[in-house]
Subunit: 331 residues, 2 copies
């Protein structure tokens, strides 16, 4: 009996909003294992807005996913067979994988330590948690007593960034969409205030909530959200550009904020970053994150979908705001 | 005989492009001199794009010029009468003044040292020269061998910034409009290359001239020029936002660059600044600037118009690009 491997391939590149039609489900025979490779069975896939960018044929921080290849995605898998000295059958590994039932790899996977919850590894201690940690602390440099605003605050990255700011003694305001997310942010994540962009005007509310201006803005959204915060900056404000989910599905690039002149008036700094640049400091971040989680200081929630067939639909949840916390799928 | 004082008042606020109709020429009796004041006769006025912003009724780094008051402007004047302990008749002073034949002041003027050329004081060693110095060196932090791009490169600020970058061992590319300005930049200011935005596509030319990307961009222009450079950044690029002359005359704010996402891809920093924050380090900058000028390292040119009647028309030259170098007017 030949074993088969189902995969979701990138069938065509989206024009504007991503849809299920951009992917094609195929079933292929499992390739024989080459020397130096290991084969693992996917157990969890994780979904991040940045994956939308990998689908476009444009230069970015990662090469585009080639057409006809399985969609690239971070995930967690269990090694079944190995011709690689570092991996043994039964090892639980995480890293960059793909929308496949089985993945091959010769390096770049990390082992999950014994006894650590898988959803924790993929959530606040995963790539999005590390992104929040280094983006907020290294790029944003918040000081105790400062006002920190986080957009996409109920998301996987934003929720961790907002809570780290709270732990560091800042006043934290989250921007999120919908009552349920906003309630979670005040009750569970214990932010000082929340703006529901679906029912409130961000700029006017920020003016009320932050009469002295915003010191640090951790932005996952871009677009009009960024523009609203630029109108409400304190002197020497720092704007951390972590992501721009509001733009990812536009066929034509959206205009930027009309009020960039405010960076002169407020002597502000806008800075982009990628978590890949901080990988040599990963242990430092994980030590802090584990201790904060152990102390009950970081609330997190995962939105776990099920089933290989549901992979594209689960990805789309990110762009409608349907997901409540870190979007995962268990195979 | 009562002495009179002619003044150009801000008569109404411009909607979009500034015009002569925004100003009104009045003749008023000279006010008696109060204790602690000095009176000086204007000798030179200087014109800067930022003055356009002072005409709008919006919060900025300086209060708006009130309607019915003389237009605020930096200049140089000769003290004629003084009830102020620091100023004596005959002193040549410079600082913030106005579009008037005579100005009163109780503080804030600096004396011009003996033997220093007035046009030098108002040009490369004036406010625009200090802006270039601190903006390029402190905010941009260019390193020897890096590629520096300057927009508005033939202007008062840009030409000094570009030449300081050359002095610091950088490869310097200027962006300017028109053959005459571009020739001056290569022949007199000795830049490595120039892009004439009136006849060349900035983004495409930058791609050819800087295949490894732009390390530092000193931007006086904003708008599509900024967008073109964001498309051509090197890793860890620094974008110094000095001014946005392309936007100053818009009734509606212009959209910002559509490619801000590039700050993530290139881990770039966009930073605004105002020279006022550096005034305690003014002597350090002037010492460098004087020594570079003495060594023939900084070419400069002034565009000197004449006559009190021509003040508004001279201001408008800045926005059509008619001025060749630092715009001055001698009264």
């Amino acid at each position: 009996m030949t074993q088969t491997n189902r995969q979701w391939l990138l069938a065509n590149r989206p024009q504007g909003m991503v849809s299920s039609d951009n992917f094609e489900l195929v079933e292929r025979p499992l390739e024989p294992l080459a020397d130096g490779d290991a084969r693992a069975r996917m157990h969890y896939l994780t979904f991040e807005p940045a994956m939308r960018g990998w689908m476009d044929d444009v230069e970015s921080y990662m090469p585009p996913v080639p057409l006809g290849e399985p969609m690239r995605a971070p995930g967690l898998a269990i090694v079944e067979e190995s011709k690689h000295p570092s991996y043994a059958p039964g090892d639980v590994v995480f890293g960059m994988m793909s929308w496949s039932e089985y993945v091959h790899q010769h390096d770049g996977w990390s082992k999950v330590p014994e006894g650590v919850d898988y959803e924790l590894i993929l959530g606040p201690c995963g790539g999005t948690g590390l992104t929040a940690y280094f983006g907020l602390l290294d790029v944003g440099q918040p000081k105790e007593g400062e006002t920190v605003v986080v957009s996409g605050a109920a998301g996987a990255t934003g929720s961790v960034a907002a809570q780290i700011a709270r732990i560091k003694g800042c006043r934290v305001i989250g921007i999120a969409g919908g009552e349920d997310k906003c309630r979670w942010l005040t009750e569970e994540a214990r932010l000082d205030a929340v703006i529901d962009y679906k029912s409130e005007k961000i700029s006017a509310r920020l003016g009320e909530l932050c009469p002295d201006g915003v010191d640090v803005f951790f932005d996952n959204v871009g677009g009009s959200t960024l523009e609203a915060v630029l109108n409400n900056m304190a002197m020497d404000a720092r704007i951390v550009i972590c992501g721009m989910i509001s733009n990812y599905n536009d066929a034509e690039p959206q205009p930027g904020p009309r009020n960039l002149f405010q960076v002169i008036v407020k002597r502000a700094t806008i800075r982009g970053f990628l978590v890949f640049d901080y990988m040599d400091r990963r242990d430092e971040a994980l030590a802090d994150l584990f201790s904060w989680i152990a102390a009950g200081e970081i609330a997190s929630r995962s939105d776990v979908q099920e089933g290989f067939e549901n992979i594209p639909a689960t990805f789309l949840r990110l762009f409608t705001g349907a997901n409540q916390g870190k979007q995962l799928l268990r195979l």
